[in-house]
Symmetry: C2
Subunit: 275 residues, 2 copies
Amino acid sequence: MVESVRSRLLAATKANGSLCAGIDPSASMLERWGLPDTASGATEFSIRCVEAFAGHAVAVKPNAAFFEQYGSAGMAGLESVLAAATELGLLTVGDAKRGDIPSTNAAYARAWLDSASTFAVDVLTISPYLGARALTPFFDVAEEHGRGVFVVVRSSNPEGRAVQLTRADDGRTLEEELMDEVSARPEVVGAVIGLMAGVAPLALEKDSFYLAPGLWTQDASLDDLSAQFGGMAPTPVLVNLSRALAVAGPDPDALRDAAIRARMEIDARLCAAPG
Amino acid sequence: MVESVRSRLLAATKANGSLCAGIDPSASMLERWGLPDTASGATEFSIRCVEAFAGHAVAVKPNAAFFEQYGSAGMAGLESVLAAATELGLLTVGDAKRGDIPSTNAAYARAWLDSASTFAVDVLTISPYLGARALTPFFDVAEEHGRGVFVVVRSSNPEGRAVQLTRADDGRTLEEELMDEVSARPEVVGAVIGLMAGVAPLALEKDSFYLAPGLWTQDASLDDLSAQFGGMAPTPVLVNLSRALAVAGPDPDALRDAAIRARMEIDARLCAAPG
């Protein structure tokens, strides 16, 4: 039987900490790095990130949109970035927010979670607007291949509140309802829980695993990280930083140092009691 | 100033009716057609569909998942399918259900709605779980390029009800709330309104435009189409059929005849009063 993704995440975060390095080759960041606004520029940016972060982050999280913006050539670049990350011992989180009706989800699951696919990632972000129960094909393919998904339950942007705080007939908010749905398969299904300043923590399950975007964006601070995830260890929590690392610029030492500093701050907060 | 997508859809549906031919090269359909379960098989399937449906459907709707499952090679196939459809005078609907935070949505919008992109489509489906107001970058890029989006408001699968019928504090359902949000820019922003048997019609705006999936799946019938969209003409409503056409098999005459028969039935229902 294949090892579950949660088990792999437990071992990896114990060994390498909780920093997840987002890879977002936006046109503005490429310009800042002196790289062309093309598929090859985006690939070059991403490979440099992967090489700098290996050994200091537990995972990299390339954002599909910033590769897709360069067409199929950009998506071919993503394939080489995923291969390089895996080669260097980094876990891969595919940030794609895919989600559709079940028959279509089966095809997206094959794209991102079948080990035979060139886009295969360790964990994929998926979006539940078409219903948590429509996501079953993702769960099934992930389980078969020892991979997993992060269902977007709470996003890190303020615009998401209008949707995620609507209520079911039983009075629970949509995000509470989704947490219950996704908790049924904790070895395979984790959740995206975004950090936002001034938003109350969501009740979480210790036997699941989480992706936490939003730190140092929209005013979310290390205190917000502590409030939501403090004391959850050893539950795997991947804390994402994208722009906060990339602004260090293209110098490999500067990038690596930014990752090392961030990792120390993050890991300290996750080990301490909530506060 | 560039012509709005709604204006283009009005002219196109007046000339060519309301049938939108979905292109879903699933592994099972490729096998049925005797084509290989590869990027080239999916592309061959799709080009044959485009050639058979030109002149009989108003648009084709390739589903990104069924190309993405073959990696970047599949996505390169999608590029050639979009080019062939445009060459033959078909409008293109990109069924990708993309949706994320605003900065990421700007990159997805560039991928799918910027005329310089190889993935550029006339209308893109997008998903609102991260908030309707996070979708503004899609609306802006679409408007600039004379393209548009269909926001998924009501999906055609029963699993979606658990999310889409949650309620805001003012008592409106999430789908009602989203309809109000997306109605603010009717020249650029339309909605996906799925058809389901036994589900009450949603109140719609005549000055917008719609994509209606689900006919002849999940028991949704022409009567359900009439109940939701009857008498809406000339409001553009693209009624999608995917599997119902593809099961006619690879013979071009059989495919074309399936499209012609479906178009007649659909157009008759849209012109008649709701029933």
